[in-house]
Amino acid sequence: MIDMLFQFLSNTGYFLADYRHVIMIVVGCIFVYLAVAKEYEPLLLVPIGFGIIVGNIPFFQGFGLGIYEDNSVFHYLYFGVTTGIYPSIVFLGLGAMTDFSSLLARPKLMLLGAAAQMGIFFTLLGAFALGFMPKEAASIAIIGGADGPTSIFLTAKLAPKLIGPIAIAAYSYMALIPVIQPPIMRLLTTRKERLIKMSEPREVHKKELVIFPVVATLLCCMLAPTALPLLGMLFLGNFLKESGVVDRLANTARSAIIDTATILLGFTVGMSTQADVFLNPKSLGIFALGAVAFSIATASGVIFAKIMNLFLKDKINPLLGAAGVSAVPGSAREVHLVGQSEDPSNYLLMHAMACNSSGVIGSAIAAGVLWSFMVGLPG
């Protein structure tokens, strides 16, 4: 009987745990704390944080418990990540939530969404320089797009082993937008520039909103067909919303479907950070490059807005460039708050959302482009 008891105890998590598990469980707790106490991106950080905790409970290998074991329940749930199913479904819901009217009213703001994607390509060079292989480098670079589902999608296609660290880095930096972006915005703009008020946008015709997803699908997906799983779903969701004839489907896409996908995506990505897979020098490199990518993306957007102002009669507030990253709606909210801290009567949110939504399109195109470049290259 004593033997049985000892055998049982030797199989418990308390016995099997080492310092790495403790580190990761603490990380998971920090995520949950940030989400609950500070309300930093709670929709993402709660499932991810809890996933990190659950994924790092030590267990006896061979029971089919872990996410990397073929016959485990979690492995089947993780299938949606490794095949890119969840990111596509998230994009469907995102499309059904997004109002592109501010972008349609002021299409030139789309250029800021393009400029912010420069962070991706700068980081690609940085990742190459640090010794990462091409597919790994492309997966790391996409963190600069500040779009969790896009990062996960591309990494699942190019470097599935890095999904954990890349997803955690991408979502961490998205949650840390209020910490990372404002200093960069302030550093690169003068007070006078931050005080620029945007003129009222024109009213957008309902028909424009209906036609936009079709036109955008044709133009963007023809250019980068590899972005189809993301952009095709994004614009389908938006068409469901704007067509006005399938409200039931649009409502389901923007509520139950995206919520289910977010829970499963966040939880399984969190679980994939098992200490033995996650805690290595590569992960540290990914986190460092992710921070660089995010910062360069923010800076590129702001600098490009300033360059645009050299040629525009109707000046744009350069803070909007920071919303060119596709962290919806966090970066738009941050731009608005920084603008309001200078002048409480300056409402930038609607304009920033235009940049934000073009950033989503831009990062998905960038992911498609990188994927097509990496076909046939070494891991």
């Binding site: 299409p107 030139k108 700068f122 320089a129 309902k206 831009g362 990188l370």
Partner: protein, 141 residues
């Protein structure tokens, strides 16, 4: 392999430049397309006028139009809706009114109909149908 040597070996410069170029081109083309969209729609809406100018046979034009600046006062809004009521006839259902208002891009038709009812501009006939309170609209008009 690290540093510049690694970037060169993996063709990094070309990938970065071409990749950034494609993303930029894609979004520039899309922004140009959507900046012209409202002009195309305006042309489409006024196609009858255009074809008339070109001597082509046109169908009878509707006199229902949505003004660029929509009035705020509900009685002024009722004036704008007059051609819609005329088209619907003496007795009509709310769904038909809503459908026509949407077809002609009147803003917030649902809210407007609700306010019409509250202001007594539309009177219930008791069988799910409504009629225009001509007395009230004439007084206002």
């Amino acid at each position: 392999m690290y540093g510049i040597e690694a970037i060169n070996a993996h063709n990094g410069w070309s990938i970065a430049v071409i990749g950034a170029g494609i993303v930029f081109t894609g979004l520039v083309v899309l922004s140009i397309a959507i900046s012209q969209l409202h002009k195309l729609l305006l042309f489409w809406d006024k196609r009858d006028e255009f074809f008339k100018l070109n001597g082509r046979k046109v169908e009878e034009q509707s006199d229902i139009t949505s003004p660029e600046q929509f009035p705020v006062d509900i009685h002024d809004v009722a004036e704008v809706y007059k051609p819609v009521f005329a088209k619907l006839g003496d007795s009509f259902q709310l769904a038909d009114l809503y459908a026509i208002a949407r077809k002609y891009n009147f803003p917030h038709p649902h809210l407007t109909i609700k306010e019409f009812r509250q202001a007594g501009i539309m009177l219930p006939l008791g069988d799910g149908c409504f009629k225009l309170n001509t007395e009230l609209t004439q007084n206002q008009g």
